[in-house]
């Protein structure tokens, strides 16, 4: 089947990141480990947010600070200026250390950057995400990110000599830690007992069978009836059915035409033109009814090869 089918490689790669969590009710829930790319993207977004907010706060405080100087020239600062300076020092520390902790302790377990790319932090043992874990995973950021970067900036210039290079290579291990384990944990995740999962928010799509030709198999355009026999319905399995579902939900005319033609060729029908959608809807409805009734008898046909 053609159309916007998910390439097999992408499916495989996704399957590698799938984990199964069994809830206390005995329902198996698939969890997906967030991809490293998504996490890197989230980190950059978070740093961008932090950078913009701390720098603009700094500028604002400088503005107020210089205003409060009041032309005082002796070496002792006036109280107001000193107070601004204290606020500024603390702001810097709290922003860079507290930002991640504050947001990850929230009910979503995610910083704004993580929320944008759709990932969240969760406890690896399935328990609740405790504040200690969030503190632990965030304290290691220094050696995982900043030290390797600092080393990278200083090592090529021979600042530390051979020891500098050795330190850089050693810290590189921490930077690349997520690439060396299957759960893409960074060192902070390891000692905190956490992992980062995809947290997709899915919208509930409409039911297909209460609209169009899915139910009755009758076209609204031409009034034609589509009925498929057992042999015609037995060529496809669940995977093809769900691909067809995606084609119908996307509703792109070219894809619908191409898919209708492929199916017609496969089941030996003569492809007509102009009524492809109704044809596909009828085929979808009847194929799904057949596969679902088989399922209830314990027979499953995963794809066209099985």
């Amino acid at each position: 089947m053609s159309g916007p089918a998910m390439p097999a490689q992408i499916r495989d790669r996704r399957a590698k990141r799938q984990r199964i969590l069994v809830t206390p009710e005995g329902v198996a829930l698939p969890l997906t480990i967030a991809s490293r790319g998504a996490r890197a993207g989230a980190l950059m977004l978070d740093f961008l947010i932090l950078m913009v907010s701390t720098v603009s706060l700094t500028v604002m405080m400088m503005f107020i600070g210089f205003g409060s100087l009041n032309g005082a020239v002796d070496e002792k600062l006036p109280g107001a200026t000193e107070f601004i300076f204290v606020l500024w020092s603390l702001m810097w520390f709290i922003a860079w250390n507290g930002y991640f902790m504050f947001f990850e302790m929230g009910p979503r377990g995610a910083t704004p950057g993580k929320r944008i790319v759709g990932v969240r932090v969760a406890s690896r043992d399935g328990g609740r995400l405790v504040p200690e874990a969030i503190v632990a995973r965030n304290l290691l950021r220094d050696i995982e990110l900043f030290l390797p970067l600092v080393m990278l900036l200083s090592a090529p210039f021979g600042g530390g000599g051979a020891a500098g290079w050795a330190a850089f290579l050693w810290f590189l291990v921490f930077l690349l830690f997520p690439f060396f384990n299957k759960d893409s944990m960074r060192a902070g995740d390891l000692i905190a007992g956490t992992w980062v999962l995809e947290a997709p928010e899915q919208k509930l799509a409409t039911t297909l069978s209460s609209e169009g030709a899915v139910g009755a198999g009758t076209s609204n355009v031409t009034g034609a009836q589509y009925r498929f026999g057992d042999e015609e319905l037995s060529v496809y399995g669940e995977y093809e059915l769900q691909t067809l579902e995606r084609v119908l939900r996307d509703g792109r005319p070219q894809a619908i035409e191409a898919v209708a033609e492929t199916i017609c060729t496969k089941i030996g029908w003569n492809p007509g033109a102009g009524d492809e959608r109704a044809f596909l809807e009828s085929f979808y409805g009847q194929l799904r009814a057949r596969l679902e009734s088989d399922m209830r008898f314990g027979k499953r046909k995963l794809d066209k090869f099985s």
Partner: protein, 358 residues
């Protein structure tokens, strides 16, 4: 009872017309349409919870959450066996996952956590890493002694050990008056709070690094402790050579008992993780790392708190108080921390359940 509010009116818009169940041709779609309302209600509750607006939820909704979660979970189990509608399955999976995070992730509020943390949890965590504290303490004492011995053998070591910023007037051969001048009492508190804030930010950054390096390096982190304490040993020798040992220790002890204690704990916390990963005992390495990491994180929260105290002490009493007052404050702080960490929150007094809830 819910008080009337504007939200009452906006909510009615979310209630859609009842789905036409009979119109759905497929059995699995009829199953879905019958339950859709419950799923939507669960989703609305989750949305409020994820935004942290627990107060906006009615009592009914809060009470219904576990039931709705179980219904959605059973819907998912049924749908997996009867429905091939990929989008419904994906929706249910994400819905149940989100609900699971909320139902099985009951959080302590920050205040409740702080109360538990300060009311014994911190002390217990510190008691649990006693072995690492002993190692770090030994290393720190050894570092001080080394610094002293090196400088007393050969004065050149002083310049190698003590960083340039300290060598202003505090150099070997300086007269007693010059050294005493560096320990003098300030007459006003102006500029002190700015000094304190800078000290805190700097020390906290360093101790976090010491902690992180403890996990990464183990031994080099201890070497870091040795080096820093050697500086202290060298300066101690310098002041004692002019017979100012007592004044110098008093000057240092005001904040030093708190600050050095905090650095000791930070190094020990890092060491603890490294040790537990190297020797996980009965547990798996991952479980052992996670447990020790969370314990060490609690210690680190304590360390940062101590450094706030240290910075305040360093900025005000050290600069403003005389020698005897400095020594008294320093000793008092040391006794206070020791009593709080080792005399408070002993294991025996608390039921085991408390430990399991960690």
């Amino acid at each position: 009872m819910r008080a009337p509010s504007i939200a009452m009116f906006s909510r009615s818009a979310e209630i859609k017309a009842a789905p036409d169940i009979e119109a759905a041709a497929l059995r699995s779609d009829r199953f879905r349409l019958k339950r859709e309302g419950e799923w939507q209600r669960l989703e609305n509750i989750l949305k409020e919870l994820e935004k942290g607006r627990l107060r906006k939820l009615s009592d009914d909704d809060v009470l219904a959450l576990p039931t709705l979660y179980r219904m959605a979970a059973s819907s998912l189990a049924v749908a997996r066996e009867t429905s091939l509608d990929a989008s419904t399955l994906a929706y249910l999976e994400s819905l149940v996952q989100r609900a699971w995070f909320q139902v099985y992730g009951p959080r302590l509020g920050l205040m409740a956590w702080m109360r538990k943390f300060l009311g014994g949890q911190l002390s217990r965590s510190i008691q649990a890493i006693w072995l690492d504290i002993c190692v770090a303490l030994f290393v720190m004492v050894a570092g001080t002694v080394t610094g002293w011995l090196l400088v007393s053998r050969n004065v050149e070591w002083y310049y190698a050990l003590v960083p340039g910023q300290f060598t202003d007037s505090r150099v070997p051969g300086a007269s007693r008056e010059v050294l005493l001048e560096t320990l003098k009492v300030e007459d006003s508190a102006q500029g002190m709070s700015a000094f304190a804030a800078q000290l805190f930010a700097n020390n906290a950054g360093v101790s976090i690094l010491a902690f992180a390096l403890g996990f990464a390096f183990g031994i080099p982190s201890l070497m870091l402790l040795v080096h820093n304490m050697a500086v202290l040993g060298a300066m101690l020798w310098l002041y004692s050579s002019q017979d100012l040992t007592w004044e110098f220790i008093a000057w240092l002890s005001v904040h030093g008992t708190t600050e050095l204690f905090a650095i000791l704990l930070a190094g020990a916390a890092g060491l603890h993780i490294g040790r537990k990963m190297a020797f996980p005992g009965q547990k798996s390495i991952l479980a052992s790392a996670a447990e020790s990491g969370q314990r060490a994180a609690q210690v680190m929260v304590g360390v940062v708190t101590m450094l706030i105290f240290a910075a305040l002490l360093e900025a005000f009493p050290r600069q403003l108080a005389g020698t005897e007052a400095r020594a008294i404050i320093g000793t008092f702080m040391l006794i206070f921390w020791l009593a709080y960490f080792f005399g408070f929150g002993r294991r025996g007094k608390y039921p085991k359940i408390d430990e399991a809830a960690l």
